[in-house]
Symmetry: C2
Subunit: 356 residues, 2 copies
DNA sequence: CTGAAAGCGCTTACAG
DNA sequence: CTGAAAGCGCTTACAG
């Protein structure tokens, strides 16, 4: 190791200094304004010779505009904050990934903040992002927090993915992007009914997000509607932070009494995975005798869980939608809710080629 | 929708304006410098009464320091860039997640950039991050690019997770964080040998990353070393961008001749997942007759792939290590490589409680 | 076509 | 204890 006082230490202790507009201007013998105009490709910026000279200097010194200086001047940062509930969840990772790509294409840089569904972290990040003067917020979290309420009432430009805005004012454009969760629950019920199930288990998270509650409720509602007696519906709401753990616990509850026989609806892929693990360990039957359907249908599931039938939410398209919604906000218009369709992805039926 | 010229439009078209240091100073009747000192908790910043008055104004106006102004002044942004090869890969998502948490604890904000393993995107991001004056770079990509070479030679502060620095100078501290990949391959070989396998398949990606090549090579090397004849080793390098597709293709090649009988080493979890999907569809036997071991052992695998035995890389600890390495760099010292140990995670043996 | 100057929000010596 | 002033890197009217 270099000693603390060695010259080497000094040299390496900060990032290599890069040239500024002023440096370029000085060595090219023009004004800062001129260089700025050239860099930004403004209309009648400079004579051909001046431009050539300046460009040469820029090239030679490897100049790149400092975004911080620009951001301070313009009052906008080209930064968008994305707050995710839990990046470890593949669904969240997918949303983050596609949003990042769409924002990049639109010329923005995404900052990803993992709130771990903790209100304190959520507020910490919200404030840190405001301090960075981000131009918009994408929320994929379901937690209430004072900071979020404050931001909503202050009119910050936010889009809500998957989970609706918990502080949305009545009759306001919610800027919500997602599926009709209640309807998805109903469709899951129909799927099992059409396969002649007579007993039903609905697995969801206790005190879950509004979205996941809506799925479970919609499902139970539909079952009753189609004449299933209450006694034939097991509405299991298992505790746990991770949906994996929820699914495991729910499956345990399900298998607890006598061997289960009937259809199973999991409010999310992750819950289905937890169920699956329990099934592997303790022999809960997940074959055609007990058809299982989940809601999410993430791409990874098509690989890792060929046994899984699910209502596939088109997360791969969320990035584009999110950017469109942000652009609406940036135009000063309220962003309407955006309800996307889902589709049935049958077990094992998804073609490999589409996944590569 | 509000008409384009409605007053509403104007009102919403930019973020709500927030108070500046100057505003606070003016309404509190003190100088900007005084407010700054109070906000930053500097030693003898102000008299008790002044401070009280200023704090009151800050509270009333909801003032938060603008990080951009501060960054410009101090020449540091408290931002760290993380470049990931592919966020859709759960291993990458895990690394991103833990790094984000560790950086936050250290007072930094992480910007996540998904390069999709494309050199052009990698360079685009590298330059965008430099423009943001980030204080460090975390690379979890394996792509060579002109920009990366430029950054390395310029001495930017970077750490390399999982994939070594492709432009590291001889005998230089590489700032690499990861496992001994060749040794992991060797250990995987030993695992199968100890289970009395006599035939072996080694599944990896054609033209893969140095890390994954090292795993496959180490494995083959060890097999030969322990006397396995070349004809009993099938070294399958399948093409494909995603490791899932690679695993699928490799399994197809493996099953192509006669029914496979022997041990299987997958260079990564994802390759094992692809193999698994092929096995489910086409009946490749993955039970004890054909023991399979992969390298990675991501937490998600413990849930979704209870059938999988793997050498578990402690990705959950990567965040802490990455921050330590960055802090070494920030002190002006070179960051040594950091080789972490891995451990065997046997199929189905991982306790559920540890995963919640 | 080109430049001098103001100002974005902040920190930090330097005076008093 | 407190303030006036310079300056971080940039853009943008405003002159010429």
């Amino acid at each position: 190791m270099a000693s603390p006082s060695s010259p080497r230490r000094r040299a390496a202790s900060r990032a290599p200094k890069s040239a500024s507009l002023a440096t370029i201007a000085a060595t090219a013998g023009v004004s800062i304004a001129t260089v700025s105009r050239i860099v930004n490709g403004l209309p009648r910026h400079a004579s051909a010779e001046t431009e050539a000279r300046v460009r040469q200097v820029i090239e030679a010194l490897g100049y790149r505009p400092n975004q911080i200086g620009r951001a301070l001047q313009q009052g906008k940062s080209r930064l968008v904050a994305m707050l995710t509930a839990e990046l470890a969840n593949p669904v969240m990772a997918t949303i983050a990934s596609v949003t990042e790509a769409a924002l990049r294409d639109a010329g923005y840089v995404m900052i990803l903040c993992d709130t771990h569904d903790r209100p304190d972290l959520q507020d910490e990040y919200l404030h840190a992002m405001r301090a960075l003067v981000v131009e918009g917020y994408v929320l994929a979290t379901n937690v209430r927090s004072p900071g979020l309420e404050e931001f909503v009432t202050r009119g910050e430009r936010m889009v809500f993915a998957c989970r609706p805005n918990p502080y949305a004012a009545e009759g306001t454009a919610g800027a919500f992007l997602g599926i009709d969760n209640a309807q998805a629950g109903r469709d899951a019920a129909d799927y099992l009914l059409d396969r002649d199930c007579t007993r039903f288990a609905v697995l969801s998270q206790a005190n879950g997000s509004p979205a996941s509650i809506a799925r479970a409720l919609g499902c139970c509602e539909r079952l009753r509607e189609r004449g299933v007696p209450k006694g034939r519906i097991r509405d299991i709401r298992a505790p746990g932070h991770s949906h994996l753990a929820v699914g495991y616990a729910a499956a345990r509850a399900l298998a607890g009494r006598r061997p289960w026989r009937g259809g199973i609806v999991c409010a999310s892929d992750q819950i289905a995975f937890g169920t699956y693990r329990f099934a592997c360990e303790h022999g809960l039957d997940l074959t055609t005798a007990n058809p299982l359907i989940s809601i999410d249908g993430a791409d990874l599931s098509a690989w890792l869980a060929p046994w899984l039938t699910s209502l596939h939410v088109p997360y791969e398209e969320f990035g584009t939608h999110i950017v469109e919604m942000l652009q609406t906000l940036w135009k000063g218009q309220p962003a309407a809710d955006h309800i996307v369709p889902y589709s049935l992805r049958a077990a094992g039926a998804f073609p490999v080629d589409d996944l590569c």
